[in-house]
């Protein structure tokens, strides 16, 4: 395995950081150089992400391109990165939106250009890192790291009330994250015995598996279960609370109703690049968190809370759509439409059927592209007029026909016209909801979005693009070459992903199957063998060298007894005079 | 023999006087003197118990306390002089720069 093979994920994660360092060395007055350098860095990240995506084999192991190195062995934290199908797709999305965000700010950001691009690069690194990490503390570090550059981007380069929006965004997300930290620590202590604790996601998950099965069998009978093992007992008592803590953190990010009010303010005040990244990628963190962490770790809690969560998702869908009808500000309207679309993602996941989960995963990608494109295109318009109110525009299609055409195509993607990507995602989510154990009414209510979304989008399009050309809009010039080149990839992808979704879906399929199998452990756990559900990852390497892939733990032995640090036979061989350290003592 | 309780009572009395002075008196020098009073009271307690037990642990502790008191007095008076130079007053009630 070449250097590139083993380190590809790390390269994708840290390439933006390397370029950030390079840019830090440039003088702040050389704006064009800074922009070009950032664009190069982002493009390189995109190329690497594409390589990663194309190199991912759907038929292969669950996590590919893994890398693991010890970090804080005494606490059981390792630097463990790797991707599965969904993570690889989301990393590609992040990589794609990076250069586009830089291009969107090319002529828009003129002050403190260096700091802005530094923030963008660090943000890129943090986002990719969140998707790629397989260790809970590493995930948490990257998760929190995303907040700070975004806070700066909104707070410094935003619109009139930027500071309020930035603070609101930061505090809201932080509160949820802190609860998640508590839950992570709880799960660290509960699931593993004192000597063998680790923050590794796979290890924690595998330790929980048999306990989950016990609790699930118990929950289905409905009686008090006296014979649970101690781990199952703690899971039975604390599982719902831990799930709620995780769920709150991710629900704020998604955003779900009722913790969504930070989103409209953040979007309205953020600059175009900030909105693109926020809507395109950061909102997916929430759904990704549910997919990877919250739901698989606590399937029994999910089963109990499913109707409530699904109801919240549907409220998000319909309420978000109804909100849009009352908006006067374009960006606020698009922000609420994000709430509506991501409600679909949540519903698809909560349906716990293969069609629903596949639709949810695909919808995550779709939303990134279509809403990212909406913010991108509107940013171009905002750059010309610096107003966001719908009433200020009107009849623009006459003077900006190319812009109107591109915007219309993206609008159709947003309202799920067949032939665009939105249709495939929504169709699969709705089908999955109908197939699931949720009542039929849920599916019907969710399908109402089919009527409501064209109502608000076409209303906005009508008021902005059609009608009489009025006032200041006479002076608007159509899109230039750079702007068309920025918007065209997203528009083309919207159509391509609608006509040929199968290549994307096939990479997501194994991840979907495993997700559904793991999540259904809470309700119909008899069907799958525990061995199929375990996460098989790299072992931690010895003191030197990179770990070799070994077969995962055998079924029936869920608890890892190996522990993060193997007894270093090789270490002892190198230094015979020094007695090998006693593992239990080190960990105290 | 004078019993230990008498010494302890005296020490407690001196300590309370000192504590009262620290909390109430306005002049910083007087506060310092009261702190010295408290320290001496504790010294007395140590010596009383040393005499009761018959070993010299109490004496050793008393020496520690004396040394600490001396050091603290030196530094404290230096700070006090600096404060007087910048504020022009030694009245503690007037020095409230740490107020919210």
């Amino acid at each position: 395995m070449s250097f590139l093979q083993t380190h590809l994920v790390n390269l994708v994660v840290f390439a933006p950081l390397v370029f950030a360092v390079i840019i830090a060395a440039l003088p702040p007055s050389e704006k064009q150089q800074i922009r070009v350098a950032t664009l190069l860095g982002m493009t390189l990240t995109l190329v690497l992400a594409l390589w990663l995506y194309l190199g991912f084999e759907p038929g292969g192991p669950e996590f590919q391109f893994e890398y693991r190195a010890p970090w804080i062995p005494s606490l059981g934290i390792s630097f463990h990165t790797g991707v599965d199908g969904l993570a690889a797709s989301l990393i590609l999305l992040t990589g794609l939106l990076g250069p586009l965000a830089v291009l969107a700010s090319w002529s828009f950001i003129e002050e403190r250009v260096k700091e802005f691009h530094l923030a963008l690069l660090v943000l890129q690194m943090a986002m990719v890192g969140t998707f790629a990490s397989l260790d809970l503390i590493l995930f948490y570090v990257f998760w929190e790291a995303m907040l700070i550059p975004m806070y700066f981007i909104i707070g410094i380069w935003g619109s009139e009330e930027r500071v309020m929006a930035a603070v609101k965004f930061f505090l809201f997300t932080l509160v949820g994250s802190l609860l998640m930290l508590l839950a992570i620590l709880a799960i660290y202590f509960i699931t593993q015995p004192a000597g063998a604790r680790s923050f590794d996601h796979a290890q924690i998950y595998n330790s929980l598996l048999s306990a989950t099965r016990e609790v699930s069998a118990c929950a289905r009978t409905g009686a008090l279960c006296p014979n649970l093992s101690p781990l199952a007992q703690s899971l039975w008592t604390y599982g719902p609370w831990m799930f709620l803590a995780f769920a709150l953190a991710f629900a704020v990010k998604v955003p779900m109703f009722p913790v969504h009010t930070w989103l409209p303010d953040a979007h309205v005040q953020a600059p175009a690049a900030g909105s693109i990244i926020l809507a395109g990628v950061m909102l997916k963190m929430g759904t990704f968190g549910f997919w990877r962490y919250a739901i698989p770790l606590f399937p029994v809690a999910v089963r109990d809370l499913r109707p409530a969560l699904a109801a919240l998702a549907i409220i998000g869908i319909d309420y978000g759509a109804l909100m849009c009808l009352a908006q006067r500000d374009v960006k606020r309207l698009i922000a609420y439409s994000s709430v509506s679309h991501l409600g679909f993602c949540m519903l698809g996941m909560l349906a716990i059927t293969e069609e629903g989960a596949a639709g949810s995963a695909y919808q995550m990608l779709n939303h990134g592209i279509s809403t990212g494109a909406l913010f991108l295109l509107f940013g171009m318009l905002y750059e010309r007029r610096h107003v966001r109110l719908i009433a200020e525009y009107g009849g623009i299609a006459k003077v900006m026909p190319v812009f109107s055409a591109l915007f219309l195509i993206i609008t159709f993607s947003s309202i799920a016209v067949p032939g665009t990507n939105g249709f495939v995602g929504e169709f699969l989510v709705l089908l999955g909801t109908f197939r699931s154990a949720l009542p039929l009414a849920f599916g019907v209510l969710a399908a109402l979005a089919v009527i409501l979304s064209p109502a608000y989008m076409l209303w906005m399009v009508q008021r902005v693009f059609f009608g009489q050309l009025q006032g200041e809009n006479h002076r608007l010039r159509d899109l230039g070459f750079r702007e068309i080149a920025t918007a065209l990839p997203l528009v083309a992808l919207a159509i391509l992903m609608g006509v040929m979704p199968q290549p994307f879906l096939s990479r997501l399929a194994p991840s979907v199957k495993l997700f559904v199998a793991r999540a259904s452990l809470g309700s119909s756990g008899e069907h799958s063998k525990l061995g199929d559900l375990e996460m098989k990852v790299l072992e931690l390497p010895a003191q030197t060298g990179i770990g070799l892939r070994r077969e995962g733990p055998k079924p029936g032995q869920p608890a890892q007894t190996g522990g993060p640090v193997r007894l270093a036979r090789s270490g002892a061989a190198e230094n015979p005079s020094i007695p090998p350290p006693n593992p239990p003592e080190l960990r105290r | 023999m004078v019993s230990t309780e008498h010494y302890l009572f005296l020490a407690a009395l001196i300590f309370c006087v000192g504590m009262f002075g620290v909390m109430v008196r306005r002049n910083a020098l007087v506060v310092f003197m009261c702190i010295e009073l408290m320290l001496n009271a504790s010294n007395l307690t140590f010596l009383a118990f040393a005499r009761q037990r018959g070993d010299s642990m109490g004496h050793v502790s008393a020496f520690f306390v004396i040394a600490v008191a001396a050091a603290e007095a030196a530094i404290g008076l230096a700070i006090l002089i600096a404060v007087y130079r910048s504020r022009g007053t030694l009245n503690i009630q007037d020095i409230r720069t740490m107020k919210h």
Binding site: W262, E355, L431, F434, R435, Q462, L505 | V22, Q93, H100
Partner: protein, 742 residues
């Protein structure tokens, strides 16, 4: 054997039966039928302005013409006796059909949709109509839009529309049909709002799209329920019955093509056992579903629900009650658009859908009754509204709604071939009427109010002649042209069929149909007479109307000719043993034999062939009466009362009819305004007030106030700090002493 080989040893007439291209290659080339207009749309849209008007016209018309050529080839191939399609769902070959699977579109879990195109006699008729009439309208548009700046957009949208409609017709599975279904809705939105600078016109486009979407909502949910239904069927049929191998084949087909493939659905309809003769292990309509989300309902109940949901979709697309309100407003678009989309093609999508799932439809007489009643009610209502309209296009719009109602009446009673026949003839004469209206507008400075026209027969002879022929075709007045035969086929078929359990529906619908036929003759007569006969109105916008040029006249003439010629298909000249069939009934029987067979087996629809000539006579008399009444009224009675107002009750009725019986206002107050109000309330009260202000900012405010209170502890007074410390130590010491003493 192909045409080229045949011609060497057999006479021409015999060889015309053989297609020049063999079925396999034709099936693989079927994608070109859709691809050509799609490419035309792309080129006209992106490069149209650069290429110039003449080139854009040429490319657009050439694209549709090329597609037409391929449609002719497909039509020819499908007429060949040797053409068969091996369906993956059964071992039996399907004759007179061809199809090809172009790969998977998307698949997840057990669901799958493929890009599959299929042509059989029904699709062949439809695609010929779509591309043929489409080509004529493209030629017409080159002249109609000759002065419009956005010509490149127009032809791009028009080509895109043709491509989407062809996708709808050629699709071999419901989701792919839905792609075309929504696609035509999209193009309708773009074309109705074509002159977007007028906000009202753009709004009409949006209204059309949203009302269509309400129908699509029904269609989608119907598709999902149907998928669940097929899964339940798959789970509950037992292989142990005599149909074991067939079921195995069907299951293999489902995993390969997905559950919503049209051929697969036909197979399911075949395998359902009749309710009154249940077989062990087989599923009948009365069998309850045992597991899954539909548990507890019988197969029959779910099927009725699915079909009613599809009816909601069809009501949206084909402008039936209660979703027809978008069609009259859609007349603000350019007239060729009205002709193509809202007369000939898009609005017929609902009819086509039900013909395609005809095998399932005959299993649910409840749904059929509803469809027939909705069709009849719509037909009558729309015809009454058309009485009082003064805008030439609005009359024709309501007429379209009414004629579509006829088609749904036929569908509801199982007379599928009559619905399709009427669809084809309606495409011809309605497109001719609309294009004629466009010609009138073109020659009269875009005047649409018929009270301001009049006496145009001498000034616009070609327009008048074609308009007259089309009017006679639609009404059947004096001369029985194609429309007479198709409408009568429907009425006769409706009268002869009975639905099991709903026998009264047949008579009710028949009477409604007769009344509507009377009304049709009346309003069309009124339209023709007011526009072309009599004296020129004093309010006319131009002194002399000029006849349009050849690109506009030629399609009019062609369509008028077709309206006449198509009557041949309605003549009962084919002998099939127990009676005579019309040409078109015989042609479409390859597709509709299966539903008729199923109707007989399940005893849901019973047909008694009655006197045909009696029915013809009745229809002719009614048409004569309606047209005669119009002539009397508008040629003699009203001109003789010029100036005197009509009696009050007639004026009130006329006003009600002119406003569409205020249905639009009912929707506005009942649905649109409440939703806007709810949205406003939700935004202001819940989001802004409750969540944001109270909860979010409230939390921040409380935190700030508590902090303000607590900081008062920081007095800055060192002595008070000392006092507090002393107090604390005292308490701790006291506590320790007490603990020790215990």
């Amino acid at each position: 054997m192909v045409f080229s080989e045949c011609i060497r040893h057999a006479p021409l007439l015999e060889c015309l039966q053989k297609s020049p291209v063999d079925a396999q290659s034709m099936a693989q080339m079927a994608w070109l039928i859709i691809a050509l207009p799609l490419a035309g749309a792309f080129i006209c849209g992106v490069f149209g302005r650069m290429l110039g008007r003449a080139n854009t016209n040429l490319i657009a018309c050439a694209a549709v013409a090329g597609s037409f050529v391929f449609c002719v080839l497909a039509f020819w191939a499908v007429n060949d006796r040797a053409t068969t399609l091996i369906s993956p769902f059964s071992r039996d070959p399907i004759r007179y059909a061809l199809g090809h699977d172009f790969g998977t579109w998307f698949a997840a879990g057990s669901f799958r949709v493929n890009f599959g195109l299929a042509v059989d006699h029904l699709s062949a008729v439809m695609i010929m109509v779509v591309t043929g009439v489409g080509l004529l309208i493209h030629v017409y548009s080159t002249s109609y839009m000759a002065h419009d700046e956005g010509y490149w957009r127009f032809f791009a949208y028009l080509n895109l529309f043709i491509a989407m409609m062809l996708t709808l017709v050629l699709a071999d599975s419901l989701p792919l049909l839905f792609v075309g279904w929504e696609g035509v809705g999209l193009c309708s939105y773009l074309l109705i709002g074509f002159w977007y600078e007028d906000a009202a016109k753009a709004w009409a486009g949006r209204k059309a799209f949203i009302v269509n979407r309400i129908g699509d909502f029904g269609f989608l949910i119907g598709m999902f329920l149907l998928t669940l239904w097929v899964s339940a069927f798959q789970a509950q049929t037992d292989n142990a019955t005599g149909q074991g191998r067939a079921l195995e084949q069907w299951r293999a087909g489902v995993s390969e093509q997905g559950p919503l493939n049209l051929r697969g659905l036909e197979q399911v309809a075949l395998r359902i056992a009749p309710s009154f003769a249940p077989m062990a292990g087989a599923v009948s309509l009365q069998t309850p579903i045992q597991s899954g989300p539909l548990e507890g309902n019988t197969f029959g109940q779910v099927l009725v629900a699915v079909l009613l949901l599809f009816m909601l979709g069809a009501a949206g697309k084909s402008a039936q009650l209660p979703l027809y309100i978008w069609l009259p407003d859609a007349m603000v678009g350019p007239t060729p658009v009205s002709a193509l989309i809202h007369a000939a093609t898009m609005v017929t999508a609902g009819v086509y859908l039900f013909c395609r799932i005809g095998s399932l439809l005959v299993l649910a007489p409840a749904a059929m009754a509803v469809i027939a009643l909705v069709g009849a009610a719509t037909a009558l209502l729309a015809a009454l509204i058309a009485f009082a309209q003064n805008d030439i296009k609005k009359v024709l719009a309501y007429s379209t709604v009414s004629q579509l109602g006829f088609m749904f009446m036929a569908l509801g009673l199982g007379v599928y071939w009559a619905a399709i026949f009427h669809l084809v003839t309606h495409a011809f004469f309605k497109a001719c009427l609309f294009l004629g209206a466009g010609s009138v507008m073109h020659g009269n400075a875009d005047e649409t109010d018929i009270r301001r026209l009049g006496g145009l027969r001498k000034e616009m002879p070609w327009t008048a002649a074609t308009f007259l022929i089309a009017s006679i075709a639609i009404s059947g007045f004096i001369l029985p042209l194609s429309g007479f035969f198709s409408k009568d086929a429907i009425l006769h078929g409706v009268h002869s069929s009975q639905l099991a359990g709903y026998e009264w529906v047949s008579s009710a619908v028949w009477i409604g149909g007769l009344l509507t036929a009377f009304c049709t003759a009346f309003y069309i007569g009124r339209l023709y007479l007011l526009v072309f006969e009599g004296k020129r109105s004093p309010d006319a916008p131009v002194a002399h109307a000029h006849e349009s040029d050849w690109p506009m006249i030629m399609p009019l003439a062609a369509l008028a000719a077709l309206s006449v010629v198509a009557l041949i298909y309605g003549l009962p000249i084919i002998d099939v043993g127990d009676g005579r069939q019309t040409l078109i009934e015989n042609y479409l029987s390859t597709v509709f034999n299966l539903p008729h067979q199923l109707a007989r087996i399940h005893r849901t629809v019973s047909v008694e062939q009655e006197g045909l000539f009696g029915a013809w006579a009745l229809a002719w008399v009614i048409a004569l009466a309606g047209g005669g009444f119009a002539c009397v009224l508008y040629l003699w009675y009203l001109p003789s009362r010029r100036g005197a107002p009509l009696p009050a009750p007639i004026r009130t009725l006329a006003r009600w009819a002119a406003n569409g019986f205020y249905l639009d206002q009912v929707y506005d107050f009942g649905i649109v305004r409440p939703i806007k109000f709810i949205s406003f309330v939700l935004y202001k009260v819940i989001d802004s007030l409750l969540i944001d202000t109270l909860l979010v900012r409230g939390t921040a405010w409380i935190t700030a106030r508590v902090a303000s209170a607590i900081r008062l502890l920081q007095t800055g007074d060192a002595q008070s700090y000392a006092a507090v410390m002393a107090l604390a130590v005292l308490c701790a010491a006291g506590y320790a002493v007490i603990q020790v003493l215990k």
